[in-house]
């Protein structure tokens, strides 16, 4: 098991399968809030849903409707299980707060290098700890 230490920005503790992207994600216009699916035309996750996955990504981009789009996924039960990300912005800070899922950033290792899609990840937003069990050893 690999353990990463960082700063929790929204509390709570969950575990689940990781969905990893090296590309920043647009909220409004970039995801479908009814299903949690990435819809941005040229995005590497195009057509994939983050519903009930630990979303590991560089950060947010695009419209200031980011928080609203992710807030909506909470209502439609399409939200990610947790967020693990690198780049702090107002969009992602507010979005994580209102989505109310555990969120961790400022990790001591790059989560995009350590975590791969399909890995089992435990996110502790209270302590700022991310534990990774690799799918492939």
């Amino acid at each position: 098991m690999i353990v990463l230490h960082g700063r929790g920005i929204v509390g709570g503790c969950v575990e689940g399968e990781a969905l990893v992207t090296r590309e920043t994600i647009s909220g409004w216009g970039g995801i479908d809030p009814m299903t949690g699916t990435v819809i941005e035309t040229r995005h590497e996750l195009h057509g994939q849903s983050f519903k009930d996955k630990v979303l590991v990504f560089p950060g947010a981009k695009g419209s200031s409707g980011w928080s609203n789009a992710f807030h909506m996924t909470r209502l439609t039960k399409s939200a990610p299980l947790a967020m693990v990300f690198n780049q702090m912005t107002t969009k992602i800070a507010l979005g994580a707060v209102v989505t109310r899922v555990p969120a961790v950033t400022e990790l001591d290792q790059d989560p995009l290098s350590v975590i791969e899609t399909g890995d089992w990840v435990k996110v502790d937003g209270d302590r700022g700890v991310v534990e990774v069990i690799k799918k492939r050893l």
């Binding site: 920005i9 920043t24 981009k61 419209s63 609203n68 107002t90 707060v97």
Partner: protein, 429 residues
């Protein structure tokens, strides 16, 4: 560690009533997530307070027994666990784009029920002291801050204009933070509110002439992809651009990336020189924009363009300025269009366009002028649309993904030509 001033502590303790208390609680959660150390006072707030789609209204009717404006504002905007009585907003608060045109709502595919719901929301906004501007371009409709003014704005194209062209200070706020700021007059003192976060990081050497609105849009789209959320400073073949060019440049850079501020040496207010724009530091990267990059960004923007038969032309992203009305009225004067053409703007600009006879010339050609929204915001195109033509890099970025249509990007003239002939003949010139 977040420091709270006495008035902020008092609001958290409930001295200003429960709605201000919940608003302050949300702002504290947000400020702590950011790692902000204090709040800054703001009286200029642009958001979408309490506005609800029928989905939101019905969701809260079902789950909380109350889908009223104050319920949506309490439960959704402030993320509070209870419905509260919402006091009047202080300061200069305005409502940005959203909803539908109140005349042509049926063409947008909206129901009478949704239209009436919007009218009720607007009455509530007015009652709560929020100015109804209904536009993504508040700076063209009566909310024009001054240099250095601390603002709390949503809408990425307005945020980048506010920071870069006006020299006022705002982060890209969201719906919930702007609604909370309207009650408290507070926003986290982080990012663009602070001098040290306003300096450029990336140097863009522009090697090919950038003059048309289309060229400014393409340059913005290129830079957004290249620098993501960092701060570019432009030198080289860029001269003073008018507000229209800044509007299209910033909107494009904020869509392909997350650019919230840019500098143009000798042009924008915090870039008297390259050294000043960079804050005395070296750029982390230097990026060239020449003929080859220009060609590639044109091809990227036209990647969804295959079928030359155009059904629909959309203009007004971001919302059209009065200059654009004059131009479109000139191009359509005495003509008839074969495609649909919808042109979107603010109610303020439309009023001026009406008075100047521009709207009549455009509508006499067979087009519709609409306010409050756009095709991407409303997810609305004329029925049966398969191929659209656009003069906005931002709309080209969003619309094909949102409504599954082919799209051509070009100049306003290319778009009007497509509307008149029904065929796309635009090319990179």
């Amino acid at each position: 560690m977040l420091f709270l001033a006495d008035d902020e502590k008092a609001m958290l303790d409930g001295a200003g009533g429960v709605a201000k208390q919940k608003a302050m609680e949300l702002l504290v959660r947000y400020a702590n997530a950011l790692g902000a150390e204090r709040f800054v006072d703001t009286e200029n707030i642009a958001g979408v307070p309490g506005s609800s789609t029928l989905f939101l209204q019905k969701y809260f009717e079902e789950h909380a027994g109350d889908g009223s404006f104050e319920a949506v504002f309490s439960l959704y905007d402030l993320d509070a666990g209870e419905v509260m009585s919402v006091p009047r907003a202080g300061g200069n608060c305005c409502h940005l784009q959203g909803g539908m045109d109140l005349v042509h709502w049926a063409e947008l595919g909206m129901s009478r029920e949704a239209m009436q719901h919007q009218q009720q929301d607007e009455a509530e906004l007015a009652r709560h002291g929020v100015r109804i501007m209904k536009t993504c371009t508040p700076y063209l409709a009566g909310n024009l801050p001054v240099k250095g003014e601390h603002c709390a704005w949503m809408e990425s194209s307005a945020v980048v204009y506010c920071n870069s062209v006006i020299g006022a200070r705002t982060n890209a706020e969201g719906r919930e933070s702007t609604s909370a700021a309207m009650l408290t007059g507070k926003i986290p003192d982080w990012g663009f509110h602070r001098d040290e976060h306003r300096h450029a990081t990336h140097l863009i050497e522009v090697e090919t002439a950038v003059e048309s609105v289309m060229d400014w849009g393409m340059l913005g789209y290129f830079i957004g992809s290249a620098v993501e959320e960092e701060i570019p400073v432009l030198t080289g073949a860029v001269r003073q651009a008018d507000p229209l060019r800044h509007k299209h440049f910033g909107a494009a850079a904020a869509s392909s990336g997350g650019v919230e501020m840019y500098h143009i040496v000798g042009v924008t207010p915090e870039a008297a020189s390259l050294e000043i724009a960079l804050g005395g530091r070296k750029p982390v990267a230097t990026i060239n924009y020449g003929a080859e990059e220009r060609r590639r960004v044109y091809e990227t923007l036209n990647a969804n363009g295959r079928d030359p038969n155009v059904d629909y032309v959309m203009l007004g992203c971001p919302h059209a300025s009065i200059d654009q009305f004059r131009e479109v009225a000139r191009l359509l004067d005495g003509k008839k269009i074969k495609t649909h053409l919808w042109m979107f703007t603010s109610r303020a600009v439309k009023t001026v366009a009406d008075m100047n006879g521009f709207t009549k010339k455009i509508e006499d050609a067979g087009a519709l002028v609409m306010t409050d929204t756009c095709s991407a915001i409303a997810r609305a195109v004329p029925r049966g649309t398969k191929v659209v033509a656009l003069d906005s890099a931002k709309q080209t970025h969003y619309l094909p993904a949102m409504v599954d249509v082919g799209a051509w990007f070009g100049t306003t003239e290319d778009c009007i030509d497509a509307a008149i002939t029904g065929r796309w003949t635009g090319e990179l010139r």
